[in-house]
Symmetry: C2
Subunit: 388 residues, 2 copies
Amino acid sequence: MLYDFSFQNPTRIHFGKSALNKLPQELNEYGPNVLLVYGKASIKKIGLYDQVMDILKACNKNVVELAGINANPRYTQLLEGARLVRDHKIDLILAVGGGSVIDCAKGIACAAYAEGDVWQRYYVNQESVTNQVVPVGSILTMAGTGSEMNSGSVITNEAENLKIGRVYPLALVTPRFSILNPEYTYSVPKYQMVSGIFDVFSHLMEQYFSGNDECTSDYLLEGLMLSLISASRKALIDPKDYEARSNIMWCATMGLNKILAVSKTQDWEVHMIEHQLGAYTDCAHGIGLAIISPAYYRYIFRDGLHKFVRYAKHIWGVEDHGQGDEAIALEGIARLEAFIQELGIPATLREVGATEEMLPLIANSTELGGGYKQLNQDDILIILKTCF
Amino acid sequence: MLYDFSFQNPTRIHFGKSALNKLPQELNEYGPNVLLVYGKASIKKIGLYDQVMDILKACNKNVVELAGINANPRYTQLLEGARLVRDHKIDLILAVGGGSVIDCAKGIACAAYAEGDVWQRYYVNQESVTNQVVPVGSILTMAGTGSEMNSGSVITNEAENLKIGRVYPLALVTPRFSILNPEYTYSVPKYQMVSGIFDVFSHLMEQYFSGNDECTSDYLLEGLMLSLISASRKALIDPKDYEARSNIMWCATMGLNKILAVSKTQDWEVHMIEHQLGAYTDCAHGIGLAIISPAYYRYIFRDGLHKFVRYAKHIWGVEDHGQGDEAIALEGIARLEAFIQELGIPATLREVGATEEMLPLIANSTELGGGYKQLNQDDILIILKTCF
């Protein structure tokens, strides 16, 4: 069955080596006050900070800065940004960085003119946003989250040890424009690069492993997985292979701009578990996903056997020698695990700082859901122990 | 190489059995005067005309009608629509029908407040549109052209025996909203259904057969081709298979909303030839494309051999037994031809009303271009004779 859906994604993408040249025409559409949001030193190291500041100055913008956004952006940073927006009557929030920075910018955009406890209202309770929202634009420096062309925002509340994702209405906080130059990703350390790659791969699998239908979205997701695998292998050999890095960047954007999710029920439980792993260990998001995924899929595959068989054959080229569907499906998951190893990602939670004591805390704080199989807290604990 | 690109597609899609329920909220965004554009009797036969009129009435709209749009929409019809827009101060042009009706609506939207000879200015000379443009919305009843989510408009000038396509700037005439209910396509006669299917297939191939790069768009186009082949075979057996018809409809939209065209140079010469075939014979668009395609691809495949080998293997499952790349590529084109036969589409131009005398006229009036091979008028005549 194909399910009814509505879809719109209005983000304007400027992609390629010359993409930054489009920034002035985008800036023209907004008032003079810009909040520049970015992370640690990396955008200064690659010279992007100076380039962007020069353009902002040439466009007569008044720039207020919010620097130092964490890989897991913090609620305190969101509040600080919201205050700056109000104090300086900001017309545009310009996020320069990876998904964390853009996620934080979206949170700021919604929080600036909100009343009451934003964490409770917009993240815990997922209330509708009715207050004024400030426009967001982005300049992307790391491929992974897809935040540059969607309305998701994942924020960590350190005081409460909670990392919660929120998908705002698309038209509200999806970046009005996003500038994607694959060259900006050259300087991303290998560990962060493979973390981003696996984040994308997980997005594709979590959309794919849902539904019993034969749906056009499944075929498109398969195409994107194949492109990502091929490009990743090239980028591992030469991180400055423009073709490889540009394909990875576009796979990331297409992988979560929701156009390949139409009519899919989707899973996202791996993300839910990782969010809590991240809240307890601050480990890189994609690395956490990669550690959890094989254990998760081995735990649930029998409930979506037909799809895991298709995945094994179409994505990993597993051949049918009469070994039976379960064996084919398991061989597909084994190939996924081999790919994770090829990326140089650790295989266990203890390697990213989790302790045995944390496992029940992570399991008990994970939001429940699932695709082919609805999980409870005990199921999650078993999965965590399997990959500990 | 991936080429730099900018992309934005703001159309809001409402898809599925309940999609028409979204019409009132869309209508709310426009003033009271609506120009309803449609084709022959089919929307009345399936009851859609009455449903739409009831909603328009309930939303207090003043409706002006322009009926009888041809399968190859005529310039005279565009001018008539433009006059109605001016005379009735139209706020929204609502196209109800297939791609022809939507293409015509876009032309009307741009022509209404244009000065001078619109045919010469906007179609022959492809001048920029600077005048006011009236918003367009669509309710789709036939899958094929993708016009519901792009800014293309193909118009036939009967007096001049010319059929010219125009891609307007995306933000200008792309439908603001499009309502896609696959059930509306159930009553499309089989000949029109397979014409639409092959139109989509040709869109995918004409984007795919270009560039030497390994590009994410190629993988996505392959996914869409595989989905379309699978769904088409099911629709041939049971035209009321909702899953099949809904996948075909979404393949059509995704196939030409340009998101899978990013960084592809694209070909479109098969479309250019067919446009002139259509101008001389009025044959169904997709049928013409299907007749021309095998002859065209056999003529050019050596210039893009690597891609035709990939196509043969990935799309048609041709196995490599050491027969050589040319043999593999030709086997892929033979499988395409077999698929066209499976769809029940005639194999020769004479079966759709072309005469031998027409061939040089069609060849000499075809716009020149091409993907892997740049063609001249003689090349086109050879191709036409091959499939005559």
